[in-house]
């Protein structure tokens, strides 16, 4: 994989985009994600109202792939229902694992589709999935809380 294919303009743009790199006042849930080998370290915060993700933001630091991927995720999932968000998280993870390759099916991931080829670069996979895995943990907890009620 060539560098230009990895660090595309879109990824570099999202890496620098700090729109959703911030703290949320009074988040419903937050979760810490960490790649011990490379030092990627993020905290995700989610605010949920009536089963809908009202706000989703992150803080911390990490490589361009992890930061861009998390920024794309935040943009994509704000305003979605928890169920819908969970479905999209799974779709993204399946894309990175190379399980879903159909472009039409992946279209709904919007900007995050640009990370598709990371599946060919195993050492960077954990960077690309850090934010999404962390959100998956939060969403699973929200689902469990809903069931308890």
């Amino acid at each position: 994989m060539e560098l230009q294919q990895l660090y595309t303009d879109l990824i570099l743009e999202y890496n620098k985009d700090t729109t959703n790199k911030r703290k949320i006042d009074d988040p419903t849930l937050s979760e810490h994600g960490h790649n011990p080998n490379c030092g990627d370290d993020i905290t995700l915060e989610v605010k949920v109202k009536d089963g809908v993700i009202d706000d989703l933001a992150y803080t911390g630091s990490g490589c361009a792939i992890s930061q861009a991927s998390t920024a794309m995720m935040a943009e994509l999932l704000q305003g979605r229902s928890v169920d819908e968000a969970l479905r999209l998280v799974h779709l993204f993870l399946d894309m990175i694992r190379g399980k879903v390759t159909d472009e039409a099916q992946l279209e709904e991931l919007e900007a995050a589709v640009s990370l598709k080829d990371i599946s060919k670069l195993p050492v960077r996979v954990k960077c690309a999935v850090l934010g999404w895995h962390t959100l998956e943990i939060i969403l699973d907890r929200l689902e469990a809380m809903k069931k308890e009620k």
Partner: protein, 410 residues
């Protein structure tokens, strides 16, 4: 030193990457192996392979001779009094675990203190955390100046506390690159009878070690950071301390007499070498010691100093590079850790990798040090005697391109 001839001994350095010979600057993680070392291991396995200290056949004898001969070379290399003080392990980490478990856990108690430094590698830190948790001893740290990397003078007073029973530190920091002159520190700790453990992983490959002159109690190093196979490491321990310790692992060859309910352990060093040992690794280590000694530590130092000087001077000309630890080449022991503003170390390493340059990225198994310095991770270029100034120039040129590549102006 004939650099060209030396490089011819390392076929791996001719690997083609990005249209040129690969630039291998990750020697603090592991070094490459020269042909004489590879051949020694190959010869052993081709003609002499057996299980040492067991059996009476020709190969058992050949293996015993190879193993014991290698030990004598290591003894001489460290200037230990006897081969009874030389224990083979897998690596520095295992050596330090042995000390922590077999000495630390059995000799420390509540009220005692273990003193280490914030610059320690996890192998010399997590190990002592567990000893502290298990025994109730307190774990204390000597901190460093965030700019110069030197130990804070007021923190050095902690060494004088008579409650300090173990003082453990790396002779050379794998991040700061500093050589912490161990002798005065050891003297100070010994003044009240503390046991001193030296992590020599980053020092033994680069400078002469004399354990009697240092007067340290334990000294650990790895073969794979000095041209030998990975999986062979050394623990030097003062004989009376080793005799006063419990075995680390139990099993074959570490016993004198085994009955149904009781066992009498073997004499040193066998007491600490349970199970079939890595003889090929021991042979490889002996060959590596001979290879490094033939080049000589003065020549190694001279070459590494040239490379470090050129690297530091070059980096200071590139905007937005932060050098970690001292910036004076005389204070750097063959490695330079750094960060590039706004670019995560992982991306720096990826970009350089595409240009055929191998550096390390992450926290280099020194997470508390990075946190203390206020950085998440860093990049590290680390050299050995076979690296060249041309490689440094190429590396610096490519390093300049990192920020532009990531969409920053300069």
């Amino acid at each position: 030193m004939n650099l060209e001839a030396i490089r011819n001994d390392f076929p791996i350095l001719k690997t083609q990457c990005a249209g040129r010979d690969v630039v291998y600057f990750d020697n603090a993680a592991t070094t490459q192996k020269p042909l004489p070392v590879l051949q020694a291991a190959f010869e052993y396995s081709t003609h002499s392979n057996g299980n040492p200290h067991r059996g009476a056949h020709i190969f058992a004898i050949a293996a015993s001779e190879a193993y014991d001969g290698s030990k004598e070379t290591v003894r001489r290399f460290l200037n230990a009094r006897s081969t009874r003080e030389i224990i083979y392990t897998r690596n520095t980490t295992e050596s330090l675990n042995l000390v922590a478990r077999s000495y630390g856990e059995t000799h420390l108690k509540q009220g005692d203190k273990i003193l280490i430094t914030i610059a320690e590698h996890h192998s010399d830190l997590v190990t002592w955390q567990r000893v502290a948790h298990k025994t109730g001893a307190a774990l204390e740290y000597i901190y460093v100046d965030k700019e110069t990397g030197h130990f804070l003078p007021e923190d050095l007073k902690k060494i004088d506390d008579p409650a300090v029973k173990i003082f453990a530190f790396a002779e050379v920091s794998n991040v700061l690159g500093i050589h912490f002159d161990p002798k005065p520190l050891i003297e100070r700790a010994h003044a009240h009878g503390a046991v001193v453990v030296l992590d020599g992983a980053q020092s033994a490959p680069h400078r002469k070690v004399d354990v009697q002159d240092l007067d340290c109690d334990f000294f650990a190093f790895s073969g794979h950071k000095m041209c030998a196979a990975d999986g062979i490491g050394v623990l030097y321990g003062r004989e009376e301390l080793l005799n006063d310790m419990e075995p680390f692992l139990l099993g074959g060859d570490m016993i004198d007499l085994v009955e149904e309910q009781e066992t009498r352990f073997a004499e040193l060093p066998a007491k600490f070498e349970a199970g079939t040992q890595y003889v090929e690794g021991a042979v490889s280590l002996e060959a590596a010691i001979r290879y490094v000694e033939a080049i000589g530590f003065d020549a190694i130092r001279e070459q590494e100093q040239k490379l470090v000087r050129r690297t530091l001077e070059g980096m200071q000309q590139i905007p937005h590079i932060r050098i970690i630890g001292p910036k004076d080449p005389a204070e750097k022991e063959g490695l330079v850790a750094f960060t590039v503003k706004d670019v995560h170390p992982h991306d720096v390493a990826q970009i350089l990798s595409a240009e055929g340059i191998c550096i390390r990225t992450g926290h280099h198994c020194a997470e508390p040090l990075h946190r203390y310095l206020g950085i998440n991770a860093s990049c590290r270029a680390s050299f050995y005697f076979y690296n060249t100034e041309e490689e440094v120039d190429y590396f610096l040129e490519k390093l300049k391109g990192v920020r532009p590549m990531m969409g920053y102006g300069d």
